[in-house]
Amino acid sequence: MSALDFSTKIGSKRFSNPIFTASGCASSGQELSQFFPLTEIGAIVTKSIMVKARTGRATPRMAETPSGMLNSIGLQGPGIDTFLEKDIPWLVEQQAKVIVSIAGESVDEYGVLARRLRSVPGISALEVNISCPNVENRGQVFACNPDTATAVIEAVRRNIGGELPIVAKLSPDVTDIVEIAGAVINAGADGLALINTLLGMVIDTNTMKPKLAGKTGGLSGPAIRPVAVRIIYQVHQAFPNTPIVGMGGVASGRDALELILAGASAVSVGTATFGNPKAAFDIKNQLEMLLLEKGFTDFRDAIGFAHRGI
């Protein structure tokens, strides 16, 4: 139907459309494939994988909040060996575009993960999650300090080789996001994923104790969307040539367009999937209609449109 070029690029890689899943909100795709064909969206961003299998935190791990939720999973996952053995071959078989998200406890671990993934066929990019708030020591969030953020991205760059684009996933819980973004771009990141969850807390007034077993958790959902829009806008203004994968409370095509106008080259759908299994698919269709309605013929003309002079 459309005269719209809906494709987008992250580094050297092209995606058929700009709607992705968000890491940690789509597992490795299998669960969602019952509800829509995974090939219909731009890419599946898999749940951040670590070197070893990880049990994660105790329950309760979830608290619903107004237009949002807190989660405190603690990066539960099977570890890189099982992931490469089971999840990647399945995704490749589905012909889905895959962005693998990685998380490490140390700079070295990120390097190990990059080395394991460098020659795996069927991967389009690497998301380097340096901003998960649900780690034992909040001081270890690499994305909260330009030096540690740089160290991780340099380690990944050294180990990944030339082809695979690196997308650094940053935390909104910093004073100067532009400084951190600049640091990871200098260290070799091809793109940025903005934003991870914000650290939050809920206290149950019946038990008078924190609701989550891990006490704090990451806030996501529409409640955080204005924060995402502001951060994407600021970072795109400072680094207009660096592609941004935007995320944060996108629940409709309109919401996706908002992040794109702020400067996102692609948009990940996260928490919305919990409420609607085919959210990413619906949002892709809604966004396509909206762009056509607004007269765009090339999706890329909409990226950062809000920055342009009147």
């Binding site: 909100c25 789509a26 299998q30 509800f35 539960q76 999937t273 919990f274 409420g275 609607n276």
Partner: protein, 281 residues
């Protein structure tokens, strides 16, 4: 146990309310669901959007299926017993006949049915009794003896509709306040009943504390115990990883999703002691 493709029978549909009746503190609701009823088995659940399109409640609510009929007068239907306890369930209970509600289902594991006739005891706490009546019917049709034990804090919180009673060989009630049936906690009555009825397999559904107490008894009597667990859940389809249950594993503890590997699980595999879980993580 899960087999085959994850969520393989699940679909997302708009389900019309065809009946909504208040029964004690609960609502018995019937929804027209078409083919969703065909694959719905006792133990499965549905995840429902609440609050309407502009709602600030962004997560689905999970409800155990009370009964599914694939060829009712309105086509396929699913029945639920809803306790209006939180904002979401209150909203659902306020739906009128003809209104549409967004369903995802059927989800999760179902109660396993013995391959040979066995004496089954079905234990339900509060509205946790909901999925047990369809199970009772299934077991009775297979030729099993079905003894049902339902407990709650007080008499009107026991959900035991007349038609449900037809499928059981015996029905025992317990209340914490003694307002009906045996005075005391449900778990106190179980050992005597197991001996009396020659129970060989236990099915349970209700609050986690009750399930833990029932499992302890099941292990003492060396009985198979299938329980439907409950944990805070965001998605119901296996992607959020919030609804996990700790089970025994060679390396210590494994967290499995109660929406995929559950809600019906083997009670003997679950680590019920919270302190052991906290120490083991």
């Amino acid at each position: 146990m899960i087999s085959g493709k994850i969520n393989q029978f699940a679909s997302q549909i708009s389900a019309e309310v065809i009946s909504n009746k208040k029964v004690g503190p609960y609502h018995h609701m019937v929804f027209a669901v078409g083919d969703m009823a065909i694959h719905s088995k006792p133990g499965n659940f549905v995840a429902i959007s609440v609050g309407g399109e502009q709602s600030s409640q962004i997560l689905r609510r999970a409800f155990a299926i009370y009964r599914a009929l694939d060829k009712g007068p309105m086509g396929g239907s699913i029945e639920l017993v809803v306790a209006p306890s939180g904002q979401g369930s209150k909203w659902l209970c306020q739906r009128s006949i003809g209104e549409a509600v967004d369903f995802v289902g059927p989800l999760g594991t179902a109660f396993g049915i013995p391959t040979v006739n066995a004496n089954a005891m079905l234990i339900g706490g509060g509205y946790g009794s909901a999925p047990l009546f369809a199970l009772a019917e299934l077991l009775k049709n297979k030729g099993c003896r079905v003894d049902m034990v339902l407990g709650a804090s007080t008499a009107n919180k026991i959900y035991a509709p007349l038609e449900g009673k037809r499928s059981v060989s015996s029905l025992t009630l317990t209340t914490d306040d003694g307002s009906t049936g045996i005075h005391g906690q449900i778990s106190e009555a179980i050992p005597r009943l197991i001996r009396e009825y020659g129970t060989e397999v236990i099915y349970s559904c209700g609050p986690m504390g009750m399930l833990a107490a029932v499992d302890k008894i099941a292990q003492e009597f060396n009985l198979v115990h299938q329980c439907a667990v409950e944990e805070s859940m965001a998605c119901g389809i296996g992607v959020c990883m919030t609804c996990v249950i700790p089970i025994k594993h060679e390396d210590g503890i494994k967290m499995v999703r109660s929406c995929i590997e559950g809600p019906v699980m083997d009670g003997s595999q679950i680590i019920w002691d919270r302190k052991a879980v906290m120490d083991g993580l």
